[in-house]
């Protein structure tokens, strides 16, 4: 067997390992092993690639891997779990950028002797790669609070995006006809980068789980395109797997918000209209507020408590405080469970990771469909920093912008305690009748301070 065959067979083994790794990643018990298998597959693919006879510039390669490895290791060790969405966005962007650079490099190397097919895949990789990079950076900026979380809208937004896309297609055709037309290639890189920025800017903070999933998918597709450029099978397989994951997660997130993908990506304008009309009737009447002491007294007589965490919990970093409260409650014989909405947090499954960090056992975390029927048998629903996902309007008010969105049936619990800083609306910009319900007590405070105060009161009872 000659060397190229050996390399190809190793790529096959690596591809199988990637598939097994992903399979294991979809079950809690085997997930760690799955991640390890995928990492092993990556290592194997890298090592056999280095055997390629065309690769001799070892010093340069080693330098690149050491620099990248160091930065990656340090970031992965230091990042806070609350900042996980930002980090995934950045890594995603880097993956897209790497694919774009590979496509650029191949375009340079091959010069004017480039074949049509290779050129088309280079152009596709360039387009998806740069778009993923700038889009991810804007998503990072929004999640980090550097760029406004409000949807950025201006007239003819979608028309402008369409014009840019058509321009990219036109210039792409030109480059295929005349591969030496380098300025057009640069223009395509610039236009794709611009498009990435313009596509993510109009998307509001609450829609970030969808955007991150979608960008994840793009980074995989960009890698697969690179695979086509280099005719490298393991690149194609791994890229396609990632593309598929992103698509599945995107679909789950859209379903959880009862919105179509087109509506999330292009629908920012409608959302703004909804929030401005919602602001007018945001007057609440008959809101009952409570102190830590009163809340503790209600909790004390409860036998079952359902905790509903939202983004406010993540912002206040209250995950450890909530775990402490749950421990105190359990010691008193109260059943504690967590009800988690699919889009709670800023990326799919974000809340689960935060609670896992606080050592909440994962058997106590329940997804919406499993837990919704239990609210009516629950004494106290404790809502921490969640709003729109508990709004009963989604169930019964046909005209509402969130009508039809699956929600947690918090309003069915016997008593509801809502920990929230103020009555300000959530991202949907509408009033939440839950807050003025007869059985709701509003506990106005920062989530962390509120929960800590509540725990203290419980302990002194």
């Amino acid at each position: 067997m000659n060397l190229p065959d050996l390399i190809d067979i190793s790529y096959l083994v690596a591809s199988v390992l990637f598939i097994f790794g992903m399979k294991c990643l979809s079950s809690v018990k085997t997930a760690r092993l799955g991640n390890l298998l995928a990492a092993l597959a990556m290592l194997m693919a890298v090592v056999v690639t280095l055997l390629d006879q065309g690769i001799v510039n070892y010093k340069l390669i080693a330098a690149g891997i050491v620099i990248g490895g160091l930065i990656g290791t340090i970031t992965a060790r230091l990042v806070q779990m609350t900042a996980m969405p930002q980090m995934v966005a950045v890594f995603n962007g880097f993956g897209g950028l790497a694919s774009a650079l590979v496509a650029f490099s191949e375009y340079h190397r091959l010069g004017s002797g480039i074949g049509n097919f290779v050129l088309i895949t280079i152009l596709l990789g360039t387009f998806v790669g740069w778009l993923t990079f700038t889009g991810s950076m804007i998503a990072y900026g929004k999640l980090q609070g550097i760029v406004t979380q409000q949807p950025v809208v201006y007239p003819f937004q979608n028309a402008l995006n369409l014009v840019i896309t058509l321009a990219i297609v036109g210039m792409g055709v030109w480059v295929v006809i005349d591969p030496a037309a380098q300025p057009f290639f640069w223009a395509i890189m610039a236009a794709a980068s611009l498009l990435g920025i313009l596509l993510v800017l109009p998307i509001g903070g609450a829609d970030m789980p969808v955007v991150i999933s979608l960008l994840n998918s793009y980074s995989g597709i960009a890698a697969a395109m690179t695979g086509f450029v280099l005719m490298n099978k393991v690149l194609i397989v791994a890229g396609a797997l990632v593309g598929a994951t992103g698509i599945i997660l995107t679909a789950i997130m859209c379903k959880a918000m009862n919105r179509s993908l087109t509506n999330v990506v292009f629908g920012a304008f409608g959302q703004v209209e909804a929030s401005s009309s919602g602001a007018k009737d945001s007057g609440y009447t008959g809101v009952k507020s409570c102190s830590a002491e009163e809340a503790a007294m209600v909790m004390e007589s409860a036998q079952s408590v359902l905790i509903v965490p939202g983004y406010g919990l993540a912002v206040a970093r209250a995950q450890h405080a909530i775990k402490e409260l749950a421990d105190v409650l359990e010691k008193r014989g109260v059943t504690v469970k967590y009800a988690i909405h699919p889009v709670a947090g800023r990326m799919p499954g974000h809340m689960n990771v935060l609670l896992a960090e606080a050592e909440v056992p994962y058997e106590q975390l329940f997804e919406m469909d499993e837990i919704n029927s239990e609210f009516e048998r629950t004494d106290v629903a404790l809502v921490v920093g969640a709003n729109d996902v508990t709004n009963p309007v989604a169930r019964n008010e046909v005209g509402s912008p969130i009508y039809g969105m699956p929600i947690l049936n918090v309003d069915k619990a016997r008593t509801v305690i809502v920990v929230k800083r103020s009555l300000s609306p959530g991202f949907a910009g509408i009033k939440n009748p839950l807050f003025e319900s007869e059985k709701t007590l509003m506990f106005f405070a920062d989530a962390k301070k509120a929960i800590e105060g509540l725990t203290k009161e419980m302990n002194s009872l």
Partner: protein, 93 residues
């Protein structure tokens, strides 16, 4: 052309495999799955290695070098942070 068709076959079938393999992932694992698959998308590192392979310092080689740095950040950071997260998932003792 034949190579292209084979590559397309692999691409399309791999997408279907991806759908099948992770269709039933529980919500608890959405974040680790995303960061793990994100690390896998750094496979473009292979492409970067090939680009920076020749022993010269032309533009294409230097672009390959830059691609190695970014792809490695993605791969190493992605796998490490996924492991860090999965370590935290515990059952009740």
């Amino acid at each position: 052309m034949e190579i292209l068709i084979t590559a397309l076959f692999i691409f399309i079938l791999a997408i279907f495999v991806g759908f099948e393999v992770i269709a039933k992932v529980p919500p608890t694992l959405h974040t680790p799955l995303m960061s793990g698959s994100n690390a896998i998308s750094g496979i473009t590192l292979i492409g970067a290695l090939i680009c920076s392979g020749p022993l010269d310092y032309k533009v294409s080689t230097l672009l390959g070098f830059a691609a190695i740095v970014f792809a490695t950040i993605n791969v190493v950071g992605g796998f490490l942070v996924t492991d860090r997260m999965l370590q935290m998932f515990k059952r009740k003792n």
